[in-house]
């Protein structure tokens, strides 16, 4: 009889856990529109610099580039880490492809740049290669200035929330 009571409790517990797991899944469920079309991960984010060997006090423009194989990209976001003791980054300059830049944040305390760029709801241009944003960089100290994307917080997204980011390119500047 004690066994029956325990079995009852186990059933109750399992039922509750099952339902909670179902609710959690429901909350995570992707929004799926009827003509859903699966896209390949074929897009890149990388950095382009005029030069890679710099001297203290020098200023350059560092371009954050996006490459995609003709997709209609809905938006891009990235977090780029840098060493604020060696490098100073000025106000980012938006590129021409995306219309909306709701977030452009340089945080010299954390040493991060965070950008969100979106296409306008009324545009649907396909993207091959474009400058996403230009970062004005000035050199403060000697060393190796590394720029590295945060993989978890960087995304290129196309139709109905699909991640199409394939790879990210880092860059290291040598400062003499």
């Amino acid at each position: 009889m004690t066994g029956m009571a325990l079995a009852g409790l186990v059933v109750i517990r399992n039922k509750t856990e099952e339902r909670l797991a179902e609710l959690e899944e429901e909350a995570k469920k992707a929004v799926v529109v009827p003509d859903y079309q699966k896209l390949a991960r074929n897009s890149l984010l990388y950095l382009k610099s005029e030069k890679e060997n710099l001297t203290v006090g020098e200023m350059i423009n560092l371009e954050v580039m996006i490459q995609s194989k003709g997709e209609t990209v809905d938006g891009v976001e990235f977090v780029l880490a840098y060493n604020p003791e060696l490098i100073n980054i000025g106000e980012p300059i938006p590129g021409a492809f995306f219309s909306l830049y709701p977030l452009m944040e340089v945080n010299p305390d954390k040493g991060t740049v965070r950008i969100i760029a979106l296409r306008s709801p009324d545009e649907s241009n396909s993207l091959n290669e474009a400058v996403l944003v230009t970062l004005p960089v000035s050199v403060l100290k000697k060393g190796r200035g590394e720029f590295k994307f945060d993989r978890e917080k960087s995304h290129i997204v196309a139709y109905a929330g699909q991640e199409i980011l394939q790879d990210l390119g880092s860059l290291t500047l040598s400062i003499d």
Partner: protein
């Protein structure tokens, strides 16, 4: 309540000691108890099922009996909204909670809090803790699909979660609300 339980268990102990048919009664008692627990559990599970965020309650009652008396912050996250931290009753829209600040709460007491002065910001449609490009892309797809109440995209496809103002369709009003969140601060507090 604890006092009552203690009394009944001591009474039960006495009657069990006096009873010559101990195994039969204790067996019956456990079968009834297990059946009761089984159905009570099913009932409670059913209650949990009903209380989903889909009901969007204006007022909600939560019972916490055994929490230690301390200062707490209350975190509220909507079905497609950023999580907001409340550290004051009647918290205003622009108030920023300081480190260590909170509401004094002790278990077993009843409190009424009014958090209606601080609106939750719309945008975390995929519920990943941040409002970003994935949510934007979902919103655009729903809007381009002309997702309306009754349509497949709205009801089964999940576009209901992209309807920020609950007017039954995903349109430019929802896009405006989304952009407002992004241009302020997009992450959960």
């Amino acid at each position: 309540m604890i006092m009552k339980e203690q009394k009944s268990s001591s009474r039960q102990k006495t009657s069990l000691l006096k009873s010559p048919r101990l195994p039969f009664f204790s067996g019956l008692y456990f079968s009834f108890l297990s059946l009761f627990l089984f159905f009570a559990g099913l009932f409670l599970t059913r209650k949990t099922i009903i209380k989903t965020p889909e009901t969007y309650p204006q007022q909600q009652q939560n019972t916490l009996q055994s929490i230690p008396a301390k200062t707490y912050v209350i975190k509220i996250k909507g079905p497609s909204h950023r999580q907001i931290v409340f550290c004051q009753d009647r918290q205003t829209q622009d108030y920023a909670c300081q480190r260590g600040e909170g509401i004094s709460i002790e278990g077993g007491r009843s409190y009424d809090f009014d958090f209606s002065g601080r609106l939750l910001s719309f945008g975390d449609i995929d519920q990943n803790g941040s409002v970003g490009v994935t949510d934007w892309s979902l919103l655009l797809a729903c809007r381009n699909e002309d997702a309306k109440k009754g349509s497949e995209a709205y009801e089964q496809g999940g576009c209901k979660r992209a309807d920020a103002n609950f007017d039954g369709e995903v349109n430019n009003f929802d896009i405006d609300l989304f952009q407002r969140t992004l241009s302020n601060y997009p992450d959960d507090e």
